[in-house]
């Protein structure tokens, strides 16, 4: 049940009717959110509902046990149990086949040809998101950052809350649980902002779908394409993944606002980043901050002498979080490497001065280098194999020997650049001018209808959300 499908529209209208007019009291409303969220989740595959609920029940009781444990070793024991449960679920459903295949591939290096049985299990939608969300609760309780809250249904409803269930943002228990215990009544200005975010999200998602074709030409055509088409494909993927994922996040935040819930921002103009570190402060903020708070800091963060190691481990695992394939691992390693390199170079006086520079040309240069590196990263992320990624990167820098471009290649390149720029302009407008815009009713509502109309008129067959596979 994707947010941009008619079935979700009907689901949400019916949900809102019952939510707003029938379940007027807090506790029944929480029960209703839970049931509706499970229906929403079950629409993909009802067989995985027990896994979601089991995850919630497990972590609910682990958190209680951590809080009531008399000494630190018992607290650690219960936390370990929670980590093992959550990462175990991920390991089995997401990484088992990858591990088996990798071991088999490794053995072939030594001449052992093994026919290994694969599990071939279906990946439950949203598993990477809700396991991390659930885990944050037990870790926060263990660290004393929050008190465990009573109310299993409230916790389960918070974890399963349908706007953010399948593709984030990854909410911390301390962000969502208090809201579930005292569901806020939305204010009209929040509702208006919610409508704006939903429309902008839909528009970005629609634009992302249109970018799928140039992406496929560069990444899936099986042979080299022209230089301009290669760059178009890479740029288009940058736009596609941004529009797809940030669009989904915007819709999630907007839908939650209509119900009175506040979900924090997940993207902040990432392609305007001026350094790799800056990029990760703007891209998938809920994941990068989760990795920072629960992994990087747990490894020692900046405080010990292993900062570079900690960054590399964090980024490697961050890459692996996205998918069970070596391309994601290499993508994570690449980002780890450019972040550590940035930190290392920052210790050199000349580079440090460059990093601090705020002249227009310096800023432009910093942005260009960062964007170029991010694009190289996207090649690793999107390519079907590491060899394929390498070929594409070589082609991006080959000025001879590639096929001639198609006759509309330049137009498509121009449109792709326009789409990526427009997405950012739209986001910048929402970030900086939404308040004023939302108060001009004569402009706000007609433009929202036009935005919806555009989404009703533009469509590509078989468009899915990319991040659902994670």
């Amino acid at each position: 049940m994707l947010f941009n499908t008619p079935i979700f529209f009907f689901f949400f209208v019916i949900f809102l009717f019952f939510y707003g007019f029938i379940f007027l009291r807090q506790t029944p409303r929480v029960y209703f959110i839970l049931v509706a969220s499970l229906v929403f989740y079950g629409a993909w595959n009802y067989k995985f509902i027990p896994l979601l609920v089991g995850s919630a029940v497990g972590d609910y009781f682990f958190a209680q046990a951590i809080a009531s444990a008399g000494n630190i070793s018992r607290k650690k024991l219960w936390l370990t149990a929670s980590v093992v449960m959550n990462l175990g679920i991920l390991a089995i459903f997401k990484y088992a086949d990858f591990a088996i295949q990798s071991v088999a591939d490794f053995m072939t290096l030594f001449g052992y040809e093994a026919s290994v049985p694969m599990l071939n299990w279906v990946l439950p939608v949203g598993i990477s998101f809700y396991t991390f969300q659930s885990l944050s609760y037990t870790i926060d309780v263990y660290r004393g950052d929050m008190e465990p809250r009573k109310g299993l249904v409230h916790f389960t409803a918070a974890l399963a809350f349908f706007p953010q269930l399948v593709a984030g943002p990854i909410l911390r228990a301390r962000q969502i649980l208090p809201q579930m215990h005292a569901i806020p009544t939305p204010k009209w200005n929040e509702v208006k902002h919610g409508f704006l975010l939903i429309t902008v999200g839909l528009m970005k998602k629609t634009a992302a779908d249109l970018l799928a074709k140039p992406v496929a030409l560069a990444f899936d055509s099986g042979g080299p394409v022209s230089l301009i088409e290669t760059w178009t494909g890479v740029l288009a993927f940058a736009g596609q993944i941004y529009g797809d994922f940030s669009g989904y996040s915007d819709m999630a935040i907007g839908l939650a606002l209509l119900l009175g819930f506040k979900i924090p921002l997940n993207f902040r103009l990432p392609y305007l980043a001026a350094s790799p570190v800056d990029f990760w402060r703007r891209w998938h903020i809920s994941l990068s901050s989760w990795l920072r708070d629960y992994l990087y800091i747990s490894l020692g963060g900046n405080r010990n002498n292993h900062r570079m190691r900690n960054i590399m481990i964090t980024m490697l695992l961050g890459g692996l979080w996205h998918g069970a394939a070596w391309t994601f691992v290499v993508w994570g390693a690449f980002h780890g490497a450019i972040i550590t390199l940035t930190h290392y170079l920052g210790q050199l006086p000349l580079f440090a001065a460059f990093q601090r520079g705020d002249k227009r040309l310096v800023k432009l240069l910093k942005w260009a280098v960062t964007f170029y590196l991010v694009l190289l990263g996207w090649v690793l992320f999107r390519a079907n194999t590491i060899d394929g990624a390498w070929s594409l990167i070589v082609n991006m820098h080959s000025f001879g020997g590639l096929p001639a471009p198609g006759q509309v290649a330049t137009v498509i390149f121009g449109l792709t650049v326009t789409a990526v720029v427009l997405m950012h302009l739209l986001d910048r407008f929402v970030l900086n001018h939404a308040d004023k815009f939302e108060n001009k009713a004569w402009l706000f509502w007609p433009l929202l209808v036009i935005g919806q109309l555009a989404c009703l008129m533009i469509g590509e067959p078989s468009s899915e959300f990319i991040y659902f596979q994670f």
Partner: protein, 404 residues
């Protein structure tokens, strides 16, 4: 299990939700209203898009009401251009078989869409307790390829809502609720027009221009062709003031005109057009276009379309006394399958014959129809190819019906 919040505590003022719901419903109604208006203004509707199909469907009750023994040739635009029902009926009558036949050939419909159309035809016949004495079904190899299917993807849901019944959409919904709801929404809220079909229409100008032939333009022939076309336009209108070439025209039984419909001047002009218009460059461009849009040389078949074709045959079997599956003549000067293409075609023909139990009548390389009888690389030409093919078909069908 306890909660920190009392269940008796009200969650808030419901008026905000009333306003929110109202905005959602009004906003969506406004967007859909404008969408339908734009569609209307652009003639984007079932009637506008499936013009000939709609008209043929509308003619079905009248066809069924006839007292004659009925026959139908069902297929693609190749049938539309190449089959003359009136000549067929006349020649068959000369062999002692009296039938009234109809041309149900439609451009732009691959077997997936044809399957649904054939179900509607079947429904109409079954509901009226009528049968076809003879059903002729074209198997068109290049309409059944992966390339053809991929090219049609943006139109699938729109065409489906135009051609399927609610019960069929419900069956889809049982398998895939999301898709089912989407299809019902397209049917009842969007007047059959999906976003994909609109986008495909707008994006046409962004498609890479087709590969053009290296053969130089014959300027003299092109100039003469323009002159003939201009003259022909006037003559056609003179012969039939209400002429509309793509219409399913009742007096012609859905087929093209025959020489006796036309003045001698018109026939002469058409024949001259055939001779001067078929330049090598034009034909080569047409061939390249067929390769690009239909994989006409390699013939990589699409399973969905092959299965759909088999269902078409099964649908016709339900209300027909005799069913024939026919491969129409091929323009051998311009279209030659690759060795792999040939193998794939032979394999698919064998499969269709096996699964339908009907031996295919393969007229691809019949000597009675020569390359100069085509109006392009695939369609038979008017007053040449259509006549030759229809006569050949009448002979074959007479033999087949007599052998029963």
């Amino acid at each position: 299990m306890s909660s920190s919040t009392s269940s008796s505590e009200r969650a808030g003022d419901p008026r905000i939700f009333r306003k929110t719901l109202l905005v959602i419903l009004l906003g969506m109604a406004a967007a859909l209203g404008i969408l339908r208006l734009i569609a209307e203004l652009n003639n984007a509707s079932k009637e506008g898009i499936l013009e000939r199909v709609t008209e043929a469907q509308e003619a079905l009750p009248a066809i069924i009401a006839l007292e004659d023994e009925l026959a139908m040739f069902f297929g693609s635009s190749m049938v539309h251009a190449g089959y003359s029902p009136r000549l067929f009926d006349q020649w068959l009558a000369e062999k002692g078989i009296t039938l009234k036949s109809f041309n149900f050939g439609f451009g732009g419909l691959n077997p997936y869409f044809q399957d649904y159309l054939s179900r509607r035809i079947r429904d109409e016949f079954v509901a009226n307790d009528r049968r076809l004495a003879l059903a002729m079904i074209e198997f068109n190899p290049f309409q059944t390829t992966k390339t053809r299917w991929n090219g049609a993807l943006p139109a699938v849901d729109s065409f489906l809502t135009m051609l399927a019944t609610d019960a069929e959409l419900l069956e889809i919904a049982k398998e895939d609720l999301t898709r089912g709801v989407r299809l019902f929404t397209i049917r009842y809220f969007r007047n059959d027009i999906s976003a994909e079909i609109i986008t495909a229409q707008f994006a046409q100008s962004l498609q890479a221009p087709p590969q053009r032939s290296d053969i130089p333009v014959d300027e003299e022939a092109a100039a003469r062709r323009d002159e003939i076309l201009e003259a022909l336009e006037g003559k056609l209108a003179e012969d039939y003031p209400d002429y509309n070439g793509e219409e399913w025209y009742w007096p012609w039984q859905g087929g093209p005109t025959i020489p006796s419909d036309r003045s001698e001047e018109t026939v002469a002009l058409i024949q001259e057009l055939m001779h001067t218009g078929l330049t090598d460059r034009r034909m080569d461009n047409d061939r390249l276009n067929r390769i690009r849009t239909a994989d006409i040389i390699e013939l990589q078949f699409e399973e969905i379309l092959v299965e759909s074709f088999i269902r078409i045959v099964e649908n016709f079997k339900e209300f027909s006394d005799h069913v024939e599956v026919i491969l129409l003549p091929r323009n051998t000067d311009w279209i030659d399958y690759s060795p792999e293409g040939w193998k794939r075609l032979e394999k698919i023909i064998a499969r269709i014959e096996r699964e339908t139990g009907i031996k295919m009548l393969n007229l691809q390389d019949t000597p009675e129809v020569t390359p100069d009888m085509f109006s392009d690389t695939t369609h038979l030409g008017r007053y040449t190819g259509d006549i030759a093919f229809t006569r050949l078909l009448a002979d074959e069908m007479a033999r087949s019906l007599n052998d029963r």
